[in-house]
């Protein structure tokens, strides 16, 4: 308990310090984009801390516990996504967002498509899906807190929920990314701790695997998870992540290309370690855990409780808590930017960019969304992983093509982008709603396919983008 409280205080301290730095800069760029100043280490760590969430620390390893190594194989699909996102979008986004002075992804989409309908569609998608994802993360965090400290769900939620909302509201994007970097380090320490603990307890890797294989040989089978399912994860947690606003916004926020190059390397090394380490720990837990966990999310907390003495289990708790808080803070600041920058400031521009109103609105928007999410989480919906994946697929269906084709296809226009958002999300949600599933392939693949078809038809059926837009984005008119 003590280590966790100290840790939360450190995070608040960082945010407080960052808040005092805000004076005298362009507030919006500072609060929502840290003045485009991230270095390589911070950029790499914030990118992976954002997509390393409750499901990578609790849900995923829990499934690896019951399914075996084929689920670890699935988790490793996420290893190259960090460099993939930055390598494809990183520089182009950085140059263009400076060229048009955009602060959010929606901002970028507006400049590219010059359409208020796109602004509204993308803001709604961000706000709705992000709140759903945050509720799921909050729930994961509070359940974890409950199981490890004995405090009630509500107390857990209040303690760490308030901390994350508070530090995000005060410190803005800069506090989010700095705390992300700290949290990534904490996650690495937690992963090392649990992996070593499980291996020591089980008498080493070879002995553990033998025990597990004797019990259930399927645990070692690569084909234990159906191949179409596992392959469709290459879209859901692989290529599709290219479209997520919480990833792409980071491509606007770094300082120079050297930072980008370093971030690609650091990110790949660290995310690979986290995914491999945590999921393997979940798999190995099959050989050492006594008793049957209530659900897959309980596997890791139970293992920690059984194997680690009090102080160390408190230190470990900081790991998944860090994964959750870093994801929530990143979503929260973007949801706030969607309301404040993309809806309020876009439709009611202020004369001066240092207007003190803007500061008040931004901080208030962050606090209000945080409080709202907190209230939803008090009466929580079930199945962390499911909600999380549903929201993620929806975001991918909404943003993938408008972002990627907007950057690389000159002919892309507003009609195409709108059709793609509506067609993609519509297909994805409808299939989920009616329980349609083809060969175990994740529905996001069909959502993206529908989005692509709608985009191309919509764009080709209507006229080319304006000359001015083409000059801004491609440096040429046709």
């Amino acid at each position: 308990m003590v280590p966790v409280l100290c840790y939360l205080f450190i995070l608040l301290g960082v945010s407080w310090y960052v808040g005092t730095l805000q004076k005298g800069r362009s507030f919006v760029t500072e609060y929502f984009l840290a003045d485009r100043s991230l270095g390589g280490f911070v950029l790499g760590m914030t990118l992976i801390a954002t997509f390393t969430s409750a499901s990578s620390f609790l849900g995923g390893p829990g499934v690896a516990y019951s399914t075996g190594l084929s689920w670890v194989l699935l988790a490793m699909i996420q290893v190259p996504t960090g460099f993939f996102t930055l390598g494809i979008l990183g520089k182009k986004f950085a140059v263009i967002s400076r060229r048009i002075n955009s602060v959010t992804v929606t901002d970028f989409l507006y400049q590219r498509y010059r359409s208020n309908a796109v602004v509204i569609g993308s803001s709604i998608a961000i706000i709705a899906f992000f709140i759903a994802m945050m509720v799921a993360q909050f729930k994961g965090g509070a359940v974890l807190f409950e199981s490890l400290t004995g405090f009630s769900y509500e107390v857990g939620l209040i303690i760490f929920g308030l901390v994350v909302v508070f530090y995000t509201a005060i410190g803005g994007f800069r506090a989010v990314v700095l705390t992300d970097a700290i949290q990534a380090v904490v996650m690495v320490i937690a992963t090392v701790t649990i992996l070593i603990t499980v291996l020591l307890k089980g008498g080493g890797s070879t002995a553990l695997v033998d025990v597990i294989a004797a019990e259930n040989p399927l645990m070692l089978d690569a084909n234990a998870t159906a191949r179409p399912t596992i392959l469709s994860y290459w879209v859901l947690v692989g290529i599709g992540l290219l479209g997520l606003p919480q990833n792409t916004v980071r491509a606007m926020s770094y300082k120079d290309t050297d930072s980008l190059h370093k971030a690609m390397i650091y990110g790949t090394v660290v995310v690979g370690f986290l995914m491999l380490g945590m999921h393997l720990a979940g798999f190995y837990a099959q050989g050492v855990l006594e008793g049957v966990p209530a659900n897959s999310d309980a596997v890791i907390p139970m293992t920690v409780m059984q194997l680690l003495p009090g102080f160390w289990s408190g230190l470990f708790l900081a790991g998944p808590l860090a994964a959750i808080m870093s994801t929530v803070s990143s979503l929260l600041i973007l949801a706030s930017a969607a309301i404040c920058k993309d809806l309020i400031l876009h439709f009611h521009p202020r004369k001066s960019p240092s207007d003190s109103n803007i500061r008040a609105i931004s901080i208030a928007a962050t606090a209000v969304i945080g409080a709202l999410t907190f209230l939803f989480a008090l009466d929580p919906p079930n199945l962390i992983v499911w909600i999380n994946l549903f929201a993620m697929g929806g975001l991918e269906a909404a943003f993938f093509w408008p972002t990627v084709l907007g950057l690389f296809w000159k002919r892309a226009n507003a009609t195409g982008a709108l059709c793609s958002m509506i067609g993609g999300v519509g297909t994805y949600v409808a299939m989920g709603q009616f329980g349609i599933n083809i060969m175990g392939i994740n529905n996001v693949c069909f959502g993206l396919l529908a989005g692509l078809v709608c985009f191309i038809i919509g764009s080709l059926a209507t006229k080319k983008p304006d000359k001015e837009v083409l000059l801004t984005f491609f440096g040429e008119e046709a």
Partner: protein, 102 residues
């Protein structure tokens, strides 16, 4: 609107397209390694640290492969670019200066 840097910006876009393609190639290579080793060696009886060979090759070696690959990618294929050199707001200023020089 006369954009005196249009040529530079087009050249930059070409370079960035190249970098995007190289990134896709590395991504595809990782996918092939991941798939081929996981399912190609699925029935191999050998074990490394108790773990089946397919797992060792696909997940552990695959991760290392990815780390080396991305390091080579940014060292050999990626170029440093001045991110601020293409800002549009600077265009009117510089065209005036160009006029003075003439």
């Amino acid at each position: 609107m006369k954009d005196y840097k249009a040529k530079d910006f087009q050249a930059l876009n070409k370079q960035l397209k190249k970098e995007a393609i190289y990134t896709c190639i590395l991504y595809a290579l990782f996918f092939i390694w991941w798939y081929a080793t996981a399912y190609g060696f699925a029935d191999a009886p050998q074990r490394v640290w108790g773990l089946p060979l397919w797992f060792f090759l696909s997940c552990i070696v695959g991760w290392l492969f990815c780390c080396v690959g991305v390091t080579l990618l940014v060292k050999c294929c990626f170029r440093d670019v001045d991110l601020n050199a293409y800002n549009i707001e600077e265009i009117p200023d510089t065209s005036e200066k160009a006029g003075e020089e003439l």
